[in-house]
């Protein structure tokens, strides 16, 4: 495994400010176990503010478990055990008392869209309402802003009161993204968001992500190696619970990384 620090030193000679920005999420010797066995073993790297951090790797690599650990979803999964340390803005999240406050700063988008059985409007207004916002005018502003950002506003602005769960798959996924944005998150985690979305919409969402990067930090878990290449500043390659490589994304493709398995995977030569 290539240490992230070494990579950063290399890049700091060539690259602009991105590499130098402060650490948003620190991961140290993170291991995740389920009752059935380990999901992630001894992973360490830093995710920096305002970067898109890609995670690629085949199924059962531990990508989704990693996201769950960041959001402290072990609280709802009795069989899930997390060892090691994750810091959010320098705070050890295992010591956070108000995990709800932590989660409300992290937006999550799942592989399959989850349109909650509420109206389109209520789907997007849910997170602000959970946080106690009641002012109708403010809610209206948030709903319109988030739906616009998620490239859905034009399609649903005339039917904000129809059910979110009745939208098409691609629309529901954009609704999910709008809902995640309505939390006004500092960190956005996308877990293979484009599985149920058509290519055109995928491109529109990718443009949105590139724009969002200026304000927030994004973790992009993806099965599409080229998507990581298009979007991610740095990318980690997970394989069978190990983090094989963490490097500036382009280096994974130009063969500047050490591990043969990574090169095989990005070039599609993987068994």
């Amino acid at each position: 495994m290539v240490g992230s620090n070494a990579v950063n030193e290399d890049r700091s000679l060539v690259k602009d400010g991105t590499e130098q920005s402060p650490v948003k999420l620190g991961v140290e010797n993170l291991s995740i176990h389920y009752e059935t066995g380990p999901a992630l073993q001894n992973v360490s790297f830093d995710i920096r503010k305002n970067e898109i951090f890609g995670i690629i790797g085949p199924a059962n690599a531990g990508k989704t478990s990693f996201l769950k650990a960041i959001n402290r979803m072990d609280m709802f999964n009795p069989g899930m055990k997390i060892d090691g340390k994750i810091t959010f803005d320098g705070t050890d999240i295992s010591k956070v008392r108000n995990v709800y406050g932590l989660r409300s700063r992290i937006g999550v988008v799942f592989p399959l869209p989850v349109g909650l059985p509420l109206s389109v409007y209520d789907n997007v207004a849910l997170a602000p309402r959970l946080a106690g916002l009641k002012n109708k005018a403010e809610l209206n502003v948030i709903v319109e802003r988030c739906l616009t950002r998620a490239a859905l506003w034009d399609e649903v602005k005339d039917r904000l009161n129809s059910l979110g769960s009745m939208l098409s798959g691609g629309q529901q996924q954009r609704l999910t993204i709008a809902r995640a944005l309505s939390q006004d998150p500092e960190l956005l985690m996308l877990d293979e968001f484009s599985i149920a979305v058509d290519p055109v919409t995928t491109m529109r969402i990718e443009d949105v992500l590139k724009e969002l990067k200026n304000e927030i930090t994004i973790i992009l878990v993806t099965n599409l190696v080229q998507q990581a290449r298009r979007l991610a500043d740095r990318t980690a390659f997970f394989l069978e619970g190990q983090c094989v490589d963490v490097a500036v994304t382009e280096d994974l493709f130009t063969g500047e990384v050490s591990d043969q398995r990574t090169r095989d995977y990005v070039e599609g030569r993987f068994g």
């Binding site: 009795p78 989660r103 989850v114 909650l116 059985p117 849910l126 997170a127 959970l130 946080a131 809902r179």
Partner: protein, 289 residues
């Protein structure tokens, strides 16, 4: 081109025989329902009138109406609901949404299953011991209703728990990931989508409760009262017990009266069941996922 071979013909013949057999057995299911309803309507309908429903029995119950019994049954069911629905729904929410999977939860689940299997006459004796004697409620509407509530609690719990668990897990996870607490998730997403099932369960409970005889016999229902109950600590008449009385205990009872009482009782139950089915169909049409 597609001529049937002998083996095809044999299969086709067998298929016809079995379809006929299974179908006719299913059709016989209608028979008892049709016979019961038919008999009750033919023999009981002539006595049903406004006076029958809304006046008190007279002449040693051989004449007059059934109003005290009808009112008593409604009161018993209402008070039983007031006790069992909050308790049952709360328990079901805890079991479905909060309870960890450990020996204690499993013990509670086992208790619920066993409670559902206790014969009603045993519930009656329990009610007599617990509510009438120990809590000193006396033989009263309160004691009888609480006995009915204990008896129907498992129905409410199981129906509620099942409708809660029919709400997809992904909805809860989406909420939790946003920073919602378990209660916020239950309040905003889970309960609104489970309310159909809960209501159906409650209505089925009502229809079952209204017909029970044994549990109320020792705890609050009486053969005859010259006045209407004034509060929950009074005794009351009830349709189910009244049916038993007019059928077996009163000499020289006109034959139509027991049929009339039975018709009112079964009419009440059918009305509730139909309401439950209609409600379910209406809300299913509005299903949200």
């Amino acid at each position: 081109m597609f001529e049937a071979s002998p083996i095809n013909l044999k299969n086709l013949t067998r298929q016809k025989i079995f379809r006929f057999l299974l179908g006719s057995m299913t059709a016989t299911l209608i028979l008892p329902v049709a016979l019961i309803l038919g008999t009750l309507i033919v023999k009981g309908a002539p006595v049903i009138s406004f006076d029958f429903l809304f006046t008190s029995p007279t002449n040693g119950m051989t004449a007059g109406g059934i109003f005290p019994a009808l009112l008593g049954t409604i009161l018993l069911v209402l008070v039983a609901l007031l006790a069992s629905v909050p308790l049952g729904v709360a328990a079901a929410i805890y079991l479905s949404e909060y309870a960890p999977d450990n020996w204690f939860t499993r013990a509670i689940n086992l208790a619920i299953i066993n409670l559902a299997g206790v014969p009603s006459i045993v519930h009656a004796l329990f009610g007599l011991g617990a509510f009438v004697l120990f809590f000193r409620f006396g033989t009263s509407i309160l004691a009888a209703s609480l006995t009915l509530a204990v008896m129907t609690l498992p129905v409410v719990i199981v129906a509620t728990r099942e409708s809660l668990q029919a709400v997809p897990m992904a909805f809860r996870e989406a909420c939790w990931n946003m920073g919602a607490t378990r209660w916020q998730t239950i309040r905003r997403i889970v309960l609104p989508n489970a309310v159909t099932g809960i209501l159906t369960g409650v209505i089925l409970e009502v229809s079952r409760t209204s017909g029970e005889t044994a549990p109320i016999m020792f705890t609050g229902a009486v053969f005859f009262l010259p006045f209407l109950p004034q509060g929950v600590f009074d005794q009351t008449m009830a349709l189910s017990l009244h049916l038993f009385v007019v059928s077996t205990q009163v000499p020289e009872m006109p034959e139509a009266v027991p049929y009339g009482v039975a018709l009112v009782l079964i009419g009440m139950v059918l009305l509730m069941n139909s309401a439950s089915i209609a409600l379910r169909m209406y809300l299913r049409g509005k299903k949200k996922w």
